[in-house]
Amino acid sequence: MDTILGPECMNSNEKIQGWMPRERFDELFGALSALGYTCYGPQVRDHAIVYARITSSGELPRGVTDAQQPGSYRLTHSEGGRWFDWANGPQALKPLLFAPRESLWRVARDAQGRLSFTPAAERPAKIALIGARACDLAALRLQDQHFLEGAYVDEAYAARRRNLLVVAVNCTRPASTCFCVSTGDGPRAASGFDIALTELDDGFVAEAGSPVGGEILGTLVFDAASRVQVKDADEAIAQGAQQQVRSLPSRNLRDVLFDNLDHPRWDDVAARCLSCGNCTSVCPTCFCHRETEEPQLDGTASGHLREWDSCFTQGHSYIHGLTVRAATRERYRQWLTHKLGSWHDQYGRSGCVGCGRCIAWCPVGIDIAEEATALHGGGK
């Protein structure tokens, strides 16, 4: 038996699931680097799990899990020594594709004052990201819609996107802040991956989500997963789903929010919100950015950059003589009415994928699900 999981498995209706014993996981790194990919995977950095360059399973967060609460994220020890026994840390896939700060173009000015503009010519590396969660894949889909599917295509994002390969790992240990079940985005990765894995004690149930994913799994020649292994994996994901304690009151809150723009809850949350913008930085779907200029001191050239921005900043809504959203109440209301409201008009669904990051990383523990519920409950 050569390939259980070859590219042809993509053509059959029945999903074929393979079994990757834990001790053979490192072969995945070899297969990916043979195809020219630089691997990124979860690692512990500064007391948090982030995605960083990785070359072997030894660098994975072995025996580590997290405890997340509104305004709190702590790493703790996990029994059993699994590698993916944690829920998402602060960083999503977003920075790999939509860079926090990058050059858009440069302009040179000659002695006559003539200007010549050159686009930033980045040749992005081929990146294989190991350990992506379902919520982040849903967010990636939304960022794709935003940057690639409108009238104008963001070429830098497109180039990095073309070079990205995703190895998803289904979530079996959501945090108390997670609510992807309620948004319909997890915990099982349903699409948007090349390979999806579910971790069990002695190995992984593996499934291909794209022809290239099938090819990679095919070259590793794994056995088919047994019925028991598949059942255990399904149960682990289902159990993860059941552990989720938070939810949004509805998948479409657009009308509720826009009908309640004068709700007293906006004042209530504004009294707690610091307008720091942490929520927008950690949110995997937020796309706002500003453009800035870096002129060279000798006056012969200047760089034009973009960097992440947030609707919580003063400058975001500044027009000459007026800051449209000077007050925190208006900024929080913009964030929520956009995220859970007008995204439906713009992208056909809510802009929240239930990752819970904005809850854990809010310094004062403001909980989007709780705010939405309060606004939903109290109609005018």
Partner: protein
């Protein structure tokens, strides 16, 4: 690889006119002959104008789309970028990219009465469409031009208004909140001028721009006079960084002003119009 939507093209200042203390017009010419020949725009669309080493600002194109020569931009100097642009002289270079957005409904307006209203200093986008209509006078019905300024000295292009007033079937109504000596027109709010306008609600289309408060009061009066909501069009301003729907700054509820506007049909923005914070 397709071109980056963020990349400006070099343009030369072919001509410069000082219109008032703070307002000037630049006629810009793309220096690349192929880009110049390919450039097309519609009245009400805008360019992102780049000042070397400082940044970009959104500026409406006020010249006529059928003009072969340079692209007109009438700019009021208010801050970082526009103060710098104000110092440039004929022959200097800057960058432009565009045109962006949805312009005025000039096709829909054909054969109908047109009311053009501007207030404050937000005149540039509407003056572009006035010029457009005046040049094609036969295609439109009765034309009413209403302009309000804070101080009579703020009115630029006085001669043009006087000339427009002499055209057949054309009414020009001007108002200044504060009128200096020699102001022959109304003193007071622009909204008061609407009483003097002859409106035929069944066949009128309104295009306006200016401060949102003024537009709101004007819309109320227009609706009272029987103008239908869908016949009212307005140009909006929000912070703009990218102009291509990516940066998120110009959002107005579900709309991106840069790509869905800047010209909107009133029902498209009605739900939030006048709600502060959007």
């Amino acid at each position: 690889m397709t071109a980056s939507p963020y990349l400006p093209l070099e343009a030369r200042i072919a001509d410069r006119h000082q219109e008032s203390d703070t307002v000037f017009t630049l006629d810009l010419e793309l220096t690349d002959a192929i880009a110049r020949a390919a450039y097309r725009f519609e009245p009400g669309q805008f360019n992102m104008v780049y000042l070397y080493g400082v940044g970009e600002v959104a500026i409406s194109i006020v010249s006529d789309p059928d003009d072969e020569h340079a692209l007109g931009h009438t700019i009021r100097r208010v801050g970082r970028v526009t103060n710098g642009i104000a110092k440039l002289r004929k022959g200097d270079c800057l960058g432009i990219r565009g045109p962006y957005g949805r312009g005025w409904p000039v096709e829909e307006a054909q054969g109908r009465d047109v009311v053009l209203i501007t207030g404050g200093l937000g005149c540039a986008p509407v003056v572009g469409v006035i010029n457009y209509i005046v040049r094609r006078r036969d295609l439109f019905g009765h034309v009413t031009i209403i302009q309000g300024v804070k101080h009579s000295a703020d009115l630029i292009w006085r001669g043009r208004y006087e000339q427009w007033a002499t055209l057949p079937d054309t009414q020009v109504l001007l108002a200044a909140d504060v009128a200096g000596p020699g102001w022959p027109w109304h003193q007071g709010r622009v909204t008061a001028l609407l009483d003097q306008a002859t409106l035929n609600p069944a066949n009128t289309i309104v295009m306006m721009c200016g401060p949102e408060i003024m537009m709101r009061l004007t819309i109320d009066i227009l609706l009272q006079r029987g103008i239908r909501e869908q016949d009212i069009w307005l140009s909006m301003e929000r912070n703009m960084q990218c102009a291509v729907g990516h940066c998120g700054h110009c959002q107005y509820g579900p709309q991106f002003v840069c790509k869905d506007g800047p010209v909107f049909c009133y029902p498209e923005v009605k739900a939030l119009f006048g709600v502060s914070g959007f």
